[in-house]
């Protein structure tokens, strides 16, 4: 088996009043897209920042191509933070060029602008870009050194659905070049579309890891029924079913759809607003942690 491009071993990060990361280990194979999912405060950004080499762990280690992080890693890693401010009064091209100047090798500036569909925006002030354009520029900056591994920290947060899908297409084209991507996201759909493997992080620990479809199959042999909370009478909560109560709805998982429906009808639960769907990653998180992913 080949050495993973990135490997995290027993990572711990402690603050005076908090253990942000508590014994996390995983490996990222070269050329794959690895997703770290979790709610705010779960510890995923801390893990990523330690992996990026900008935060020191309390204990544990991060290996790049089997070796501790060194100057080579910084030359070969591209990073897109969730929010990155740039120098004022610079155009898109000048901003990208400044970062290009920080690396020994990399892509031609025109090439990277073209890759991120920024040719027409090259002369625009970087403060006058829309959210989607700005994220494309930050992606161009992350790609300017032609990185072997690309960190994308919640790259589509705040983007409209169209811009988000455009960004996904861009990431998929980068994936097609066999670049390794480490993605953190709040959007389960994003993880399902882009990631070959995911790790769900909660309270500083990995609570599940594997390819998204495999994890769903492992945890859900059933279908999922959703009912508005107000339609679900308190007496029905005592029914012999697997129930998860969210803020606005009640979710029932079952592998016997007909039987469950009969039970609900006999308990006089109104089914007018019933929704039946296959489980997704958000359901998986609820299953594993018992709380909403976007808490």
């Amino acid at each position: 088996m080949s050495t993973p491009i990135l490997e995290v071993r027993d990572l711990v990060k402690q603050y005076p009043a908090l253990t942000a990361v508590n014994g996390v280990s995983f490996a990222v194979p070269e050329g794959s897209c690895f997703g770290l999912l979790g709610p705010n405060g779960a510890g995923k950004t801390t893990i990523v920042e330690i992996m990026e080499g900008i935060l020191a762990p309390t204990s544990g280690e991060v290996l790049y191509r089997g070796e501790p992080l060194r100057a080579r890693f910084q030359e070969e890693a591209g990073i897109l933070f969730q929010e990155t401010a740039l120098q004022n009064f610079l155009t898109v091209r000048q901003s990208v060029a400044m970062f290009r100047g920080l690396y020994r090798r990399g892509l031609d500036i025109d090439e990277v602008l073209k890759l991120c569909s920024l040719e027409k925006l090259a002369r625009r002030d970087n403060r006058k870009l829309s959210g989607g354009q700005r994220q494309r520029m930050l992606l161009a900056i992350a790609l300017v050194n032609d990185p072997a591994v690309l960190f994308l920290d919640e790259p589509t947060t705040g983007l409209d659905p169209q811009a988000r899908r455009n960004f996904w297409a861009l990431v998929q084209s980068i994936k097609a070049q066999r670049k390794t991507i480490l993605l953190t996201t709040h959007y389960m759909e994003e993880a399902e579309v882009l990631c070959d493997e995911i790790a769900i992080v909660d309270r500083g620990r990995i609570v599940a890891q594997g390819p998204p479809q495999r994890l769903l199959k492992e945890h859900f042999a059933e279908v999922l029924l959703e009912l508005p909370r107000q339609d679900f009478p308190p007496a029905a909560r005592r029914l012999p079913m697997q129930l998860i109560e969210a803020s606005d709805r009640v979710e029932i998982t079952t592998d016997d759809l007909d039987g469950t429906l009969r039970t609900l009808i006999s308990a006089h639960v109104p089914l007018k607003n019933l929704r039946i769907r296959p489980p997704n990653l958000e359901d998986l998180f609820l299953e594993l942690t018992g709380r909403e992913l976007r808490s």
Binding site: E52, G53, I54, A71, Q74, E75, A77, I79, F81, E83, T84, A85, L86, Q87, N88, F89, L90, Q94, S95, A97, M98, F99, R100, G101, L102, Y103, R104
Partner: protein, 360 residues
């Protein structure tokens, strides 16, 4: 390393030049102050006599008399004094005359030549005095002295007067340099840290030394350019007295800028609070602005105030610049100030680099 440094240097310069507000405050504001001061203080000299008293004689006669003369317009007192010294005491109690202690005869004579003081007086038996024969005020104050003590010995000095605007101009240049360096570096590094730009740079191969080096060089080149532009611009517009070496002034501008940049970097190296950095910068700039002698001479101020003022880099820069521009001082004469500025630069650069933090 050089390529990375140049990349940040170039981008930083573009950022500065496109910030019209910053350009306005750096270029137009000091120009407006100079022109305004030239209008306000460009008139005839104020009717106040200034007499430098050699401090070697301070213990003997000067202190009580100096206190008396500075305090009010009281008539000259007739207290008891040893024979031969009463005449000098009487003179030192004259009304409407400011008596200023002078540390050395050389310094006092320079002030007499430039008519910054109207007379240099050495109490004794007989007392001696130096007056500028080109100075009308020197003539009148001489008459006052001779009325009090006809035996006082005169030594003649010659030299042209220094206009207030000539005296003020180096101060405005130095003050502008101080604000540009302290706030230009302090606030920019703080903004970079607050916005997360430093954190992003930290994830690249750029080292702290390269980043700080780029900031120093960028601000240094901008400040020296602006100072040179003001020097040429004011010289062309209203003219000023400069009897020294331009190269020496350039060296002073470079060292003065470096010391202020180092100070600004030290303040912004670690902190993330805008208010705190703002407070610290104000804490530095206000005393320097008031005590460094930009607007008025501290010659008559208490000794401790002068000692505090001497420790400020702006004072060293300003004294050296005035010595070069007004009195044609050479490298050797301003060497102590150059050394002081270099030491301050090194000390604060080391502290700034050591305490530098990329993130909040």
């Amino acid at each position: 390393m050089m390529r990375r440094l140049l990349a940040v240097w170039h981008a930083r310069n573009l950022e500065f030049l496109r910030d019209r507000g910053a350009l306005f405050f750096t270029l137009i504001l000091p120009l407006s102050i100079i022109i305004g001061m030239a209008i306000i203080f460009g008139g005839p000299p104020r009717p106040l006599f200034k007499v430098g008293v050699l401090s070697a004689h301070r213990a003997a006669a000067a202190p009580p008399a100096l206190r008396q003369s500075r305090a009010s317009n009281q008539p000259p007192g007739r207290g008891s004094c040893p024979p031969g010294r009463c005449a000098a005491d009487a003179f030192l109690r004259e009304r409407y005359v400011q008596f200023i202690r002078v540390a050395s005869r050389r310094e006092g004579l320079m002030d007499v030549r430039r008519q910054r003081i109207d007379m240099l007086f050495a109490p004794g038996d007989p007392p001696r005095y130096w007056v500028n024969t080109d100075s009308p005020k020197g003539y009148i104050i001489q008459r006052l002295l001779l009325a009090a003590d006809p035996h006082a010995r005169r030594v003649q000095v010659r030299g042209k007067a220094v206009r207030y605007i000539d005296w003020l101009f180096p101060g405005i240049l130095a003050m502008n340099l101080m604000f540009s360096c302290l706030f230009g570096v302090g606030y920019i590094v703080l903004r970079y840290r607050q916005s997360g730009f430093l954190k992003r740079l930290h994830a690249t191969p750029l080292t702290a030394f390269e980043f700080l080096g780029a900031q120093v060089l960028s601000r240094l080149s901008i400040t020296v350019f602006i100072t040179a532009a003001l020097y040429i611009g004011v010289g062309t517009l209203i003219g000023f007295h400069d009897s020294g070496s331009v190269l020496l002034l350039l060296l002073l501008a470079v060292l003065g800028s470096l010391s202020m940049i180092a100070l600004g970097l030290t303040i912004s190296a670690r902190f993330s609070s805008e208010e705190l950095v703002n407070g610290l910068l104000n804490l530095l700039t206000w005393p320097m602005m008031l005590l460094s002698g930009v607007w008025f001479s501290l010659a008559g101020a208490p000794k401790w105030v002068q000692r505090v003022a001497d420790a400020l880099p702006l004072t060293q820069l300003l004294h050296a610049a005035r010595a070069v521009m007004l009195y044609g001082a050479g490298f050797g004469q301003i060497a102590p100030s150059l050394i002081y500025l270099s030491v301050i630069t090194l000390v604060f650069l080391v502290i700034g680099a050591w305490s530098f933090r990329w993130r909040i």
